[in-house]
């Protein structure tokens, strides 16, 4: 269940239309690393999350991504207001305009429609969380590229906010990834990566053993 709040998470006020820039920013609406993919990814993955922390973080970050879809769409909407046909032709926006006019259609910057083929929901928490970490970095990179292409300070301010949120979400997913998911993961890899740190039986072996000097570390593997 969701309740709509009739406000943006962060203000979007673009004074000057710029259809060429809108055409680039639209990738963060419906592109491979865009906000629609992010919301879809997290709000799907949460159903197979094994613990309450992961259910919470996927629900809450997934919800924030919905607000980011709205902000990206607001940018595109404001960048494509009051255009003349001449401006549409000159800016290269005509190839979008012919199919969608100035409606918001989830697509990437090259015009490919939004697809769930660029995201995963595997039912495996370690796999999903590592996908989420990568997804946040890919979105951050896309915002970096938009900042390389955008001069308008009204636009850059919003993009910088969204970019910062990717970094915070990466941090939160990293923390979820270090909670004890050991029973969902092959024991040897869990021990190696420290996933068993909360399990006193394996704590010393998993965290401190040096495989060069001791059999304890590998002793765990042999039982799996």
């Amino acid at each position: 269940m969701w309740v709509y709040q009739k406000k943006l998470q962060y203000p979007v006020k673009v004074a000057r239309p710029n259809p060429a820039l809108a055409r680039v920013i639209i990738s963060q609406f419906g592109g491979p690393d865009g906000e629609m993919g992010a919301a879809t990814r997290y709000l799907s993955q949460r159903f197979s999350a094994p613990n309450d922390e992961m259910k919470g973080i996927l629900t809450d970050i997934g919800t924030e991504e919905l607000a980011h879809i709205e902000m990206v769409c607001s940018l595109i909407y404001q960048l494509t207001r009051n255009l003349s046909i001449d401006e549409i032709k000159k800016s290269g926006f005509d190839t979008y305009f012919v199919d969608h006019t100035t409606g918001l259609y989830p697509a990437d910057a090259s015009g490919n429609p939004f697809t769930a083929a660029t995201l995963q929901s595997t039912g495996d928490p370690i796999t999903d969380l590592n996908e989420d970490l990568a997804a946040e970095q890919k979105a951050r990179l896309t915002y970096d590229n938009i900042l390389r292409l955008a001069d308008d300070p009204d636009v850059r301010d919003v993009i910088k906010f969204l970019r910062a949120r990717e970094i915070v979400h990466y941090q939160r997913f990293g923390e979820a990834n270090h909670t004890d998911l050991s029973r969902f993961y092959p024991l040897w890899a869990a021990a190696y990566r420290g996933y068993l740190r909360h399990n006193s039986v394996f704590q010393n072996a998993g965290m401190t053993a040096n495989p060069e000097k001791s059999n304890t570390f590998f002793g765990i593997f042999q039982n799996t």
Binding site: L8, Y10, P11, D60, E64, E175
Partner: protein
Amino acid sequence: MAENNESKEVLLHRLQVCGFILVELNEYLDSHPEDQDALRCFEKHRAMYEEAAEAYTKRYGPVTILDHAATQGNKWRWVEGPWPWETEKEGM
């Protein structure tokens, strides 16, 4: 805190700032549920958000439909613009 003569922009900005802090603390507390500083900070800004939302809602209409009772009159004001993606003069 919220005076009656404050503009829509000021009140909305206060709502957005408090709302953002609550989102940030919500996500942080998901993985740090016993951080007392964060819990105190959440409570402080939750109260500030409620105060800001009440002041905004009274003058400029509901933020969620649950705010409807706080808006004056016997008219459904939810659909009245401008909507969040519009600038002030566009609402129809």
